[in-house]
């Protein structure tokens, strides 16, 4: 500590105050830059993936139709990945998201098969009914995890099987065709050449980001995942937080289900069976810590776009789905390894004592 600091401390308390304030401001700025560092990685990856496939086959990859197709296919997977991210933030996982989305999609397709010519209001009713079915799935997950106290892995493994099983019972294992015409029109709609489905995805992502960063619930959710014991001693009720988490992940999955039938007017119990891995890969690649406490919606959105680019790129390169699956597995494990390494480096780096601690 220099002499001038000493003088300042004794002579002018306001200056000390200012000093502290500057210090805390700098700290928060540094932490924000660090956060954006993770985002930067994601942005670089997105641009790199785009560049690679553009170079490999520019005529097909840059075709506006191809870009539109990517923007229409990504939203459902992106919403499911955000749903999984929410569960991971609390230190859990939700394996039932795809089954819930299919439940919503099948409800909508099933209802519209019974009521083929409904108007706008009827369509809305059918969509709301489908959404409620998905939400019910979230409620069941929430009850099992928060009230009964089953670990999220087992609870959602079980409900995934039950929801999927009920879907098989309802459809008899067949594909259901046909949804209300308005829904299909919505699925094909665009605003300024941006597909409506993609806009729904972005708006929902912004809404979830606001809940996470600007509301008490979001704060509690992060704290629950970062340190459950500390959260409990701070007066946060784990039952409520967990219930809210799985309710939100159910709602997001239900919304994804609506997008599925809006994009493609069919629904079946085994739709998206490869999505369970994909959405976990996206959540992890987007910087979510699977042990809880850290994750950003923006990271997951960018990861969704990246994976969609990779998938489309693989298709253009005429690589099979199995090769894409291998790539997914590799991306997952490499990201996990890199994240774990950097986390460990941070943990072992000696922490500088803050001025308050030094003063004590």
């Amino acid at each position: 500590m220099s002499i001038s600091d000493h003088q300042a401390e004794h002579a002018a308390p306001p200056l000390e105050d200012l000093n502290h304030r500057t210090d805390s401001a700098t700290r928060s700025l540094v932490s924000r830059v660090h956060l954006e560092h993770g985002m930067l990685r994601m942005l670089v990856l997105t641009v790199a993936a785009f560049a690679v496939f553009t170079v490999l086959n520019p005529s097909v990859f840059l075709d506006p139709l191809n870009i539109t197709n990517m923007a229409v296919a990504a939203p459902e997977v992106g919403l499911l990945a955000i749903a999984v991210m929410l569960a991971m933030l609390t230190g859990g996982i939700d394996l039932s998201v795809v089954a819930i989305a299919n439940g919503t999609a099948i409800t909508i397709a099933g209802l519209s098969a019974h009521h083929p010519h409904v108007g706008g209001a009827g369509t809305l009713l059918i969509v709301v009914a489908g959404f409620l079915v998905g939400l019910l799935g979230g409620v069941i997950n929430g009850l099992l995890i928060s009230r009964v106290g089953i670990t999220p892995i087992l609870a959602t493994l079980g409900t995934m099987q039950v929801f999927n099983g009920l879907a098989i019972v309802y459809t008899g294992g067949k594909t259901l065709y046909g949804v209300p015409a308005q829904l299909t029109t919505f699925g094909q709609g665009t605003v300024a050449r941006v597909p409506l489905l993609f806009l729904v995805f972005l708006l929902t992502a912004v809404a979830v980001a606001i809940v996470l960063n600007r509301t008490p619930l979001g704060f509690k959710l992060m704290l629950q995942g970062a340190n459950g014991t500390a959260a409990r001693y701070s007066g946060i009720r784990p039952t409520r937080v967990l219930m809210a988490t799985y309710l939100m992940s159910g709602a997001l999955s239900a919304l994804a289900g609506i997008l599925i039938v809006a994009r493609n007017p069919t629904a079946s119990a085994d739709y998206g069976s490869s999505y369970v891995l994909l959405v976990i890969v996206i959540a992890i690649l987007g910087g979510t810590n699977p042990s809880g406490g850290f994750g950003t919606v923006a990271g997951v959105v960018l990861a969704t776009v990246t994976l969609q680019i990779v998938q489309t790129g693989f298709n253009i390169m005429r690589l099979s789905n199995y090769e894409y699956a291998i790539a997914q597995g590799l991306i997952l494990i490499v990201t996990l390894v890199i994240d774990q390494m950097s986390r460990r480096r941070q943990a072992t780096r000696p922490r500088k004592p803050s001025p308050q601690e030094a003063a004590q």
Binding site: V148, I150, G158, I168, A325, G329, L332, V337
Partner: protein, 341 residues
């Protein structure tokens, strides 16, 4: 009945409870459909439980060590299919087939073990990733064809029976594989209860930090664990191919949950540190008996998946609720001690 006796009947891991459910189900089913009690039906349930039992032994070890593995089915079919593809119809015996499959299984298991233990990553997510990679590599690079002609040594085993008992018009056949499966169960039981490595799995699953401080080499134990699970999976895969008399690379993957459900129902705790071979065998048998009962009771097969999921949920709910109760008891004790002090 006094309390200690009741506790003994219930068993350390609720094995008694599983037996009770098994008996109740059997009685109910016998009343519903007398055919249920026939030797023929019993042997067919045993036959369908053979492969799942072998796979479940591996899952049991992982769960005891506090992990969860979903890649064992991919390893099983990878090892079995590539062995069959490689050997072709050569008249090599099991002496050659089995070591090849086991080596492939061990290698894939080693990949899991190294990634999980060296980097301390979440087991579910790692194995989900490796599972997809193994299946992808199998189909994209090894082979995607259905193989109907098995190596002669395996083709012959498909119909080999240990016991053939004529009952009425039908002949009840007990497949020869009950012998190796029983031996494997005994082996795993012996390893888990009598070897230092087996005990280290319980220790690690119960409390990783305590195990480390007690001097167990956690990395070595885990690498060995996932390698062993790979070998068990490979044996299970070979048995599956032998019993179904064809090698289909699309088989097995997707049935992980049924096996994990069986192990959890058999009393193994998903938090690690608890579980027994006896409970696991009973759990596998219970799941297959229930599936068999659904068919005999005339319930459409579309309900099978729902049934297994519901059984899993009920089983883990009972565990979770009793865990909650016992944790409250611990707190009550602590309070009493405080009062006493």
């Amino acid at each position: 009945m006094s309390r200690p006796t009741l506790a003994r009947v219930r068993g350390a891991n609720n094995e008694g409870l599983v037996v009770l459910v098994l008996v109740a189900l059997s009685v109910a089913m016998t009343i519903l459909n007398p055919e249920f009690l026939s030797l023929n039906n019993l042997f067919s349930v045993v036959r369908s439980s053979l492969v799942p039992t072998v796979l479940a032994l591996g899952v049991l070890m992982v769960i005891i060590a506090g992990g969860i593995d979903v890649s064992f089915t991919a390893i099983a079919i990878f090892a079995a299919y590539s062995t069959v593809l490689w050997v072709g119809q050569d008249s090599v015996g099991l002496v050659v087939l089995l070591p090849i499959a086991c080596a492939i299984g061990a290698l894939l298991g080693l990949v899991n073990g190294v990634v999980i233990s060296k980097l301390r990553l979440p087991t579910l997510i790692v194995t989900l990733g490796t599972s997809t990679m193994f299946k992808g590599v199998l189909i994209a690079f090894v082979g995607a064809k259905y193989i109907a002609d098995l190596p002669r040594a395996m083709a012959g085993l498909g119909n080999a029976n240990l016991l053939s008992i004529a009952s009425g018009k039908e002949v009840a056949n007990l497949h020869i594989f009950v012998v190796p499966v029983a031996l494997l169960c005994l082996l795993v039981w012996w390893v888990l209860s009598r070897t230092m490595w087996g005990r280290s799995l319980y220790a690690y699953g119960g409390d990783p930090e305590a195990a480390r401080r007690a001097g167990f080499s956690v990395v070595r134990a885990q690498v060995l664990l996932y390698t062993a699970v790979g070998v068990l999976a490979a044996i299970g895969g070979l048995m599956h191919v032998t019993l179904s008399r064809n090698a289909n690379p699309q088989d097995l993957v997707g049935s992980e949950l049924d096996i994990i459900a069986a192990v959890v129902l058999g009393g193994a705790s998903i938090f690690g540190g608890r579980g027994s071979v006896l409970g696991t065998v009973l759990g596998v048998f219970l799941i297959h008996l229930i599936q068999n009962s659904l068919i005999l009771a005339g319930i459409p097969s579309v309900w099978q998946r729902t049934a297994v999921g519901a059984i899993l949920l009920v089983g883990v709910s009972v565990q979770a609720l009793s865990a909650k109760r016992s944790s409250r008891k611990v707190f009550a004790y602590a309070d009493e001690e405080q009062v006493a002090a």
